[in-house]
């Protein structure tokens, strides 16, 4: 289990201690899956989804959206119309 790579993907910063701790915990979790692999699944249909539901739709009817002021309320940085973030492309 590459803890550093996983942390990178999740955009979280870990110190050496945390990497070691999480490494052993995650390895324990992964080893549980080995138990699952030992179960005989011959003749069992593969499951495509955990929900027992299917075909849940809504009609194509517009409902009111949120007010812009409310949308922007939680943004740490904003102007009158937009949420602001640090520039994401170079140039």
């Amino acid at each position: 289990m590459d803890v550093k790579y996983t942390a990178e993907l999740a955009k979280i910063r870990l110190n050496k201690e945390q990497v070691d701790k999480l490494g052993s915990e995650l390895n324990d979790i992964l080893s549980f899956f080995k138990n699952l692999k030992e179960v005989d699944t011959k003749g069992v249909e593969p499951l495509s989804h955990v929900l027992a539901l299917k075909n849940v739709f809504r009609d194509d009817i517009v409902k009111p959206s949120l007010k812009k002021a409310d949308v922007l309320k939680n943004a740490p940085q904003k102007d009158t119309h937009y949420i602001k973030v640090p520039r994401v492309i170079k140039g």
Binding site: L53, F57, D60, K68, V71, L72, I83, V88
Partner: protein
Amino acid sequence: MKYKTVIGLEVHVQLLSKTKIFCSCSTAFGKEPNSQTCPSCLGLPGSLPVFNMEVLALSLKAALVLHCRIQKVMRFDRKNYFYPDLPKAYQISQYDMPLAQNGYLEITDDDRLKRIGITRVHLEEDAGKLIHTGAESLVDFNRCGTPLIEIVSEPDINSPDEAYQYLTKLKSILTYLEVSDCNMQEGSLRCDANISLCPVDSAELGAKAEVKNLNSFKAVRDALKYEAGRQKRLLEEGGRVTQETRLWEENKKVTLSMRSKEEAHDYRYFPEPDLPIFEINEEDIETAKRSLPELADERKSRFVEQYSLSDYDAGILTSAKPLADYYEKCLVILAEPKEVANWLAGAVMAELNARNENFSSIKLKPEELVEMIKLVRDGKINSKAAKEVVLPEIIEGGKKTSDILKEKNISQVSDEGEIGKIADEVIRRNEKSVNDFKEGKKNAIMYLVGQVMKGSKGRANPKTVKEILEKRLSE
């Protein structure tokens, strides 16, 4: 060594549903930033997506027309990545159970039909829009959650021109279906291209470049031409093509490497737990099939057969659905297929082109156009006056043909007395042409006809003018 160009296209198309794919926010374009969002499309905790039925209907139509096999069960998956235009930090997309697979699109290549395979058509949600200014990027989430289909082609395209044709055909089909308006300027159709070169006799594909930032069909063609040339030079010099993403620079007409240090994307797709699976049965497919309209190719053949139009005119008139619809609306009022076709495919299109206007936004009502055509046919105005005076006025909409006729004093003159007077004057002043005609140069009369037309300020009926002149000159 001779090389073969291998191109595959990934096209994203926004669907014309009124609401977003998983929430009831409007998809209208050009509204105030961040005014069309809700907890679901903003990814706020506790909100859940619910699939829009109309999106399935629209995407089914597109997949059927592209001859795809519709999957019995489709599923949504999460594609995980961080970017400020994606508030949930994942995009709801489809991975291994997409809507449809294994289709094709036919293009015409040197008068020969060529089939371009469609690998898959899948559904996904669009991201928001970013505007980069100075040290910041501004985020507008209105577009976030707009329904998209991604149409992935097989690497069956062998030249930039074929790529251009594929896109043109795809746009024609999807706009005819009214599944999307495919407007590249507004971003409702977007295209990325993969291109590689390999020796003609090799079965193995070369390393490919993915070209992005293509803002028009022309840009796709130009960028692919440039990229094919660049890769050929590299290979001929004994170099190697790097597998990478390159951006098309419209101003400099070159592609440049993105040079991003980012490692290969790891999207960690997994089944979307907030949405159930969707079963598509035979009945759904039959319903969608029944709702398919007549497409451009079929309509063109019908126009040729039913209205005795030339291939060329039928091609122009069926090039866009609004134009073909308009033509047939005119025919309901005036059953003169050839005459209406000539005016519509000729003068009307020319006038719109001159104004840099698109047919889809035409303001001229079929009734007024037909009125003008009738006046020409009945000899009330000549076609030159119709083209140059009436059409430019009525094409703006609002004005009636009959009013312009009164206003501009262009009613055609067929009165022999009035034309006779002008003809006498012209004969007196143009002795040389008159003598030429009398000596047997029959064409000389055309100059005299022109002079009489000019004398009548274009209002005379040219047919009457010619008759009167011939009569007088043979006396």
